[in-house]
């Protein structure tokens, strides 16, 4: 707090008045927020096909149906799991390839848009905007357009997710690049290294652990995304899920197998990636 020359003679009273005002503003903000939330929920409820309160008792109907369909045919479940495993593999492949391609694109884009490293410093703003646009396009939009042109299958989903990944990772990577030590780059340029050599030998080794950690996080997100895109027609486990759902009540045992596969996959990769990232952080703290 800075002391102004015409400070009031009653500091305590002044402080209390200030606090009261702050509390009032805080209270008003909270009130406004509560009002927004309540009216928002009421509006969303009125626009929904089924009401919230009438639907609430039915929330467990569908899971109950699925379980009721599965339990009598529990012996077939392993068979279903095996049958849908290739589709799951396709979903994971889509996620992995799009993460690889997206990360490769992101490395290039991020280096081109980091101050001090960029190949063409004047074009930094252009590459940044480009990444913003890549990031802003929802995957489903690109995927649906590509499905129209290329037909259904894993390729449209892969391209859509890769484009989005390039934008999303590019932003994170360029934040990492900004903290990179420029001394190796200067050293390399003093011996006449080209831009590509400076980046590959001077910058990438410094930042690659951070790149890897972000890419791993992205891979996990991309598995979810590729499952969703499958649901709109782009192959993989999502597509099988939509077909299994179409069987209708009484035959949800296949859907149950797919739910289970998807759930387990996401959990496994979630735990795996947080474990690996945790190990990387602790090994860094340990000195090397």
């Amino acid at each position: 707090m800075t002391q102004t020359p015409d400070a009031p003679h009653d500091p305590r009273g002044h402080y209390m008045a200030l606090m009261a005002q702050r509390r009032l503003y805080g209270g008003l903000t909270l009130g406004l927020f509560a009002l927004l939330m309540i009216s928002g929920f009421m509006l969303a409820d009125s626009r929904n096909a089924g009401g919230f309160w009438s639907g609430l008792p039915q929330v467990f109907d569908f899971p109950a149906d699925v379980i009721a369909d599965t339990l009598p045919k529990l012996d077939r479940l392993p068979g279903h799991l095996v049958r849908y495993f290739p589709a799951l593999l396709e979903t994971i492949n889509i996620a992995a390839v799009s993460t690889l391609l997206g990360a490769a694109g992101a490395i290039v884009l991020s280096l081109l848009s980091t101050r001090g490293l960029a190949r063409w410093p004047r074009l930094i703003a252009v590459f940044r905007r480009f990444m913003d646009i890549l990031r802003a396009v929802p995957e489903i939009v690109v995927a649906l357009v590509l499905i129209f042109v290329l037909g259904g299958g894993p390729v449209p989903a892969m391209l859509a997710i890769a484009l989005h990944t390039a934008g999303a990772l590019g932003k994170l990577f360029s934040e990492v690049n900004e903290n990179a030590d420029l001394k190796p780059v200067e050293g390399l340029s003093s011996v006449g290294a080209t831009w590509l050599q400076r980046m590959w030998l001077g910058v990438v080794p410094q930042v690659s652990p951070n790149y890897f950690s972000y890419a791993l996080l992205r891979f996990e997100i991309n598995i979810r995304a590729s499952a969703i895109l499958g649901f709109v027609g782009a192959g993989g486990i999502g597509y099988e899920l939509r077909n299994a759902m179409a069987w209708g009540k009484g035959r949800f045992d296949e859907a149950a197998a797919i739910f289970l596969l998807l759930f387990l996959t996401i959990i496994v990769f979630d735990q795996l990636s947080s474990h690996v990232r945790g190990a990387m952080i602790s090994s860094k703290k340990g000195g090397f």
Binding site: F33, L36, M37, G40, F41, L43, A44, D45, R47, N48, A49, G50, G51, F52, G55, L56, Q58, V59, D61, F62, P63, E90, N93, A96, V97, L100, D132, I133, R135, A136, V137, P138, E139, I140, V141, L144, V145, F148, V149, L150, G151, G153, P154, V155, M158, R224, A227, I228, F231, V232, G238, L241, M245, F259, L262, F263, I266, I267, D270
Partner: protein
Amino acid sequence: MADAALYASAERVFRRKRILAFGLPAVILLYLAYVFFAFDLPGLAERARWDNARTLLADTWSYKTHVTRDNRSGGVAVAIEGERKGEYPEGTAPDWVHPQEGGAVRVALKGGQEVLLLPGNGFRWDVPGFGLIEARLEGRDIVSNLPEKGLPEWISASSSRLQVTADGARVSLTRAKTELFRYFPGWELFFFTLDSPYHGHGLGEILFGARIDPARGNLAGTWQDFWGNAMWRHADVAWALFETLLMAFLGTMGAALVALPLAFLSAKNFAPLMALRFAARRVFDFLRGVDGLIWTIVLSRAFGPGPMTGALAILLTDTGSFGKLFSEALENVDGKQIEGIASTGARPIQRYRFGVIPQVVPVLVSQVLYFLESNTRSATIIGAITGGGIGLLLTQAMITQKDWEEVTYYIILVILMVMAMDSVSGWLRRKLIKGL
């Protein structure tokens, strides 16, 4: 001896580096090669529909006006994109369509060419560089002056259908009708449909000119007709965008409100019981593991399609994510501040209010705002699955496979919306965190 050991270890390090430097790219390449065949990329070229791509690209920046002559009644209709909403009223026509005496219709094309739609169910078109094409329907067969063989690829002819495409126009003659498409750049009727009195008037004329529709003021009238445009449905689109934002807002904020108390239960330094902590963590893992897709399916079965379903799906998934993030933030809280507050004789609730909350709020607020931006995108996707907001409009426009200019319009709107959300959340983040 020390030197030898040093050399040996350096050799080892270099060998490992070399293996990594060549081995890793090799593994990645091998994997990509596997995927190349697993995804059947060689077969992709055959499956790809390049004509679809061409229609899509052409449609995003141009539109076509149909001039249709019904071969049975002989009546001629002019309609933009062939839609009822874009039909020219009886007796009016654009200035390049000239009805002639005796029932023929002369249609002017670019560069002074013209096509004559003849009364006897035929047409005549002098294509530059090719020559005069004349075709007629005789009985049930199409007769033309074209040779049987050696036709260029822009003409397709059979006894039941003749189609000629040249110079920004296309004429097709079938048994039922003769139809001419003329292509124009731009998006058709974006501001006003043909039945609006303001169609065809410039901005200056509307703002400063005389009253065009005697019943209404110019500004009010243009707004009414623009907002209620039956072809582009601006009001519905704006509402859909709002619905998508609503889903994102309710889902994110609701998730934050639910996750905060649960995060206290799962943070090591606050949870009173180990079992409770374990339970809360598993709840978070479960919510995240089930994933937005499955939540959307389950919830839309109970609540039907709409923004509420989308908001709840986001809420459930993100409660899991927030719970994990918040509890990590709570575990990193500095204990000294709490101790200091406790030393003044503060009660537990005051200790939380003044010792913990000020430390974690900046972290939580910035996480919530990050999610708000990314959930705007998720809400579009969830809307496409569950049927609500701009996602629904987008999928509907794509399924019809002809309104690509609308698809382009929606895509641009979605991108602008997400970018706007990105800057709003960034601005709020700076503002709030500085203020706290």
